[in-house]
Subunit: 436 residues, 3 copies
């Protein structure tokens, strides 16, 4: 549980809030490169409570600018994206991707007024199919270095969706290892083929030991379960500041997961996820399986749906609290624990049902919540240190510290997991250790 | 008219408000027994501003618990109702109807944590097909004793609907005897058969004398009209603290009415009504007539409609202020006073049109509003006495004082109505006096 | 740009606000005479934040009364309009167009209570097909005198629509002469026929000189452009206090425009417009062209659509911010500057996109915004003078000062426009000077 003060601090991300100020120090991914075409329609974006527009200019550069024209405050969303900038349809004022006013046809030629009428613009870079922005002060830090950034397109699959809750309760769900045994479980074992070793281990030891290790980049979290032959099954996930997650991999020749929970405002979060293989292209089956589990079925990965007039309009799922996430009580009675059919929606349902901003003053955290406690502490401490002592977190200027992996291994029960798996958690080129 | 302070006091029912505190001292009916099945889906309930869930456990007991799981605040609505309790789908925590945490599979076996993680649960009892709860402090008082509680199912018909207004203006409408001559009237006398005696009396004396008598259980209200042969027609209704109503009966061998206006929150009220005969089963025609007059036509008495994701989802009528209650101006011009077709909707329309919470500082009450004035006074005085002097109203511990009836009789004009009809207003087994 | 204080002062119109107090000193047009029939249904009206009902009584008089019955606050909207007044359907209280309670059947006959229960009623007059009301204190001033008021119906066409923004940003758009070259422009010149002189002038001089002259009734605004043969093209529009607009006329034998922006509340404005010819009936083509440009296509000029349950229900356009005003990006790329098909919607789109109440603290006004600056100053100065010095604007008691016209002429470039066109701007009977 948190005090009301700490709950507000954790959850509020607008300009001038402590957490919002901290988050603005990090690069933020928010857009697929494929969402904007040169001289095409702009996309509505809201990040950390700010209304913005993303567009790609004639030469292919990405702009992310304030939505309102500084002249008379009309929305640039209706604007014309042409010849190196976005032009307001009211009076034709035009801004380039850096926010400079490059044309002002309604004013006298040669007027110096143009130079006084720039627009807020945040620098953007593209890397591996994603667009990132930096909304903070001073010179932008280096981009965090993630393993998938150097991979060819064929090796990576992406998903994206909105969730109608505060970002923090969604992020917390990512590191809640114990809920897998309940929320996502089936009532009967699969009838196709023998049960896997991991399934057997999870069934035989339903009370894993949790271990939480602070790291330079965030928190490394492990769940340990008894396994046959005096072994322990250690599954470790990674929280990387301030909103990145590497959940656990599965099996030999594993695909690797990556996900980020970007606060849209205090009541919405946009989730971008990736599944990739470090050494080879994903098969069609792997790609389909990933999209099925992580994407709302009513959102097309090809973005066929027309966007709504809201930010991230293309990525708004239909299943929501107002339709009970289409829970089917008969399915819940006979087939699955939740009765909610889509995997991502099972998580979204419980997280959304906590209320827009979960009231953590009414929580009762148990031993299975150690990871969540550690992540909150890390975020709160960083926000307070920045506010009170002007300390910028060190990982921001250490991009290669993000080159880590999650893990799942069997170890002799006397071996300490953190030390024994250190090399497996580091990204090593051309190596993708088998997991369990 | 009320001061702004008294209007707030009368209308606000949340936790820690004076009126909310008073109402929590009474048993509250809110659910039909038939709405919840053993191990079936829970029902969303909101009472006095609190979000709750009702469910029936494996052994048939009714639970009414806070909606949010005390662990991480997920909604138990999505939960599994099985083996003696409702289980959260997030981590499997399970609570029985008394609110005790009876399983906590995500925590180590034998942990004492379970005992610290109970959930708010309000005691419930079932009587005569209705479920009642007590949301107050200390030991629950006896259930109020209503005449219909001992009758077989065949003798009683029930209705239920939501109304989208504050509870107080809805309750007040119940004791507004004069509006019957206007809101519910037709423009031409019925063409089928001769006019009834009551119709003739009402037509000949449109200015009844009102009399209001405080009682141990509430207020007894009578309207007296001149009648033939030096008689007076006395029609008396009963207000029973804090939200029960017995409106007037009609004719020989009368059916008896009962209704309760339960505050859902400050902006919604749920109305449960009954029509019963003390001595015999209702005929099919009587049952149909009652349901037609009191139930929205788009709400099936068999609850065929799927519930929405809002509290009391099954009982939300379609006619509402946003569609003008489907008022038909041509019907209003030529056939009925209101142009609104459903009887209940005529009342709901005027009550809803006052605004969510009627601003009583702008009222001008006349002689026809004596009953409303008396009821407000009773409620306000009780709320203030409880808040300021910790006085619990005496009727709460006197369940048999609720064994009263409404009445409609002809008396010689010199006879005092209250004294003369005392025996008729008491519930006497095997007796159902004819009315006029 | 404005300070936050002045922005609030300019935009807030409710009772007791400085601008609301000023606006209540003027006659306000709000209804077509044809919208209400004798003894017909009342119309929901909201003006300056007050909920009202308009109705026409049996004798043809117009009433504009508070929506809530003073008895128990039920809405008179559901009421019966009959025999000289509107009657509440709850208890039959009846009010005439002057607000007097003329029947109170639920109270004893002869009671003096009736005289204490009047309802707020604002005086109304009809002139030239429009209904005007005066919501201010003291005796009502004379009605402002507009040229079209004396014309036969055949000479005038009217439109009406709601816009979902604060009134001030909508009114400002009316005097924004420079946006015509952008927002409303086509990407290619019309292929039918040679380009007009005005088109050629506008194309050759895209930086007109703006001139703004305070007048007794408001502000006269001119844009001057270079024209062939050492001439200047002067186009002048008129702002008449507090919300009237005469935009510029076109060509020989011109039709004359008139428009008014009436604040419904702080977040909505209702726009009434007229096009008229001072000397002859409008042709069918002229009438159709005007309605096409100024009326939403989904609002029928014959009011065939049923009203919604909101004020001005018949005049609520479907195109809105939530559907991006049906902007078509392909049309925007290839045909029109905006991609929005209806002329009025092009204005509504940019004005609505500023936010409900435009935040003028973030503006950057240029030389093309001189008219807007002058109009704001006039309104703010009048509101402050009334609040601080109790000065009632002089134009209110000078109805004939409203007998002016807008203009468009060619003048030798050395001739001062304001003096040279004085006679053209005055309304002279039987004269309608050709324009350019």
């Amino acid at each position: 549980m948190l005090t009301a003060e700490d709950n507000a601090l954790l959850t509020q991300v607008g300009p001038d809030t402590p957490m919002g100020t901290l988050l603005r120090r990090y690069w933020i991914p928010f857009l697929f490169s494929s969402e904007v075409d040169a001289d095409g329609a702009p996309e509505r974006v809201r990040l950390l409570g700010e209304d913005l527009l993303a567009f790609r200019d004639t030469s292919g550069r990405i702009g992310l600018v304030a939505e309102q024209c500084p002249h008379r405050r009309a929305s640039l969303y209706f604007g014309r994206n042409e010849e190196g900038g976005i032009r307001c349809i009211y009076h034709g004022w035009k801004f380039d991707v850096a926010g400079a006013c490059v044309d002002q046809p309604s004013e006298p030629e040669g007027s110096a007024f143009k130079d006084k009428t720039s627009i807020v613009a945040y620098p953007c870079v593209e890397r591996g199919g994603l667009v990132w922005t930096y909304m903070g002060p001073e010179v932008e830090p280096p981009l965090p270095h993630f393993e998938w950034m150097e991979l060819p397109e064929s090796h990576v699959a992406f998903t994206k969706r909105m969730q109608y809750t505060n970002w923090a309760q969604a992020l917390e769900g990512e590191f809640d290892q114990s809920h897998v045994s309940y929320l996502h479980s089936s009532l009967k074992p699969s009838s196709t083929g023998p049960r896997s070793l991991v399934d057997r281990i999870r069934n035989d030891d339903r009370h894993p030991v949790f271990d939480v290790v602070p790291t330079s980049y965030g928190v490394c979290i492990a769940a340990g379960r008894n396994a046959p032959d005096a072994q322990r099954y250690w599954r470790s996930t990674q929280f990387l500041m301030p909103f990145f997650a590497l959940t656990g991999p599965y099996g030999p020749d594993p695909k690797r997961p990556w996900r980020v929970w970007v606060p849209v405002d205090d009541e919405n979060v946009v989730v971008l996820g990736a599944s990739f293989h470090p050494l080879r292209p994903l098969t069609e089956a792997e790609r389909t399986d990933f999209l099925t589990r992580s994407s709302p079925s009513n959102i097309s990965p090809q973005f066929r749906e027309p966007p709504s007039s809201k930010p991230f309009g293309r990525f708004r799922p239909l299943p929501a609290l107002e339709n009970d996430f289409f829970q089917d009580r008969e399915v819940q009675r006979t087939q699955t624990y939740s009765g909610i059919s889509e995997f991502w929606a099972q998580d979204a349902a419980v997280q959304t049902s906590m209320g827009m901003i979960c009231d953590r003053t009414g929580e009762h955290l148990g031993t299975s919540d150690l990871a969540i406690i550690a992540i909150r502490r890390r975020l709160l401490a960083a926000a307070k240190a920045l506010r009170e002592e002007h300390v910028v977190p060190s990982e921001i200027n250490d991009p290669d510290c993000y080159l880590v992996r999650s893990d799942a291994v069997l170890l002799p029960e006397t071996v300490p997991w953190f030390e024994a798996t250190a090399a497996r958690r580091r990204v090593t080129p051309d190596v993708n250790p088998d997991c369990v």
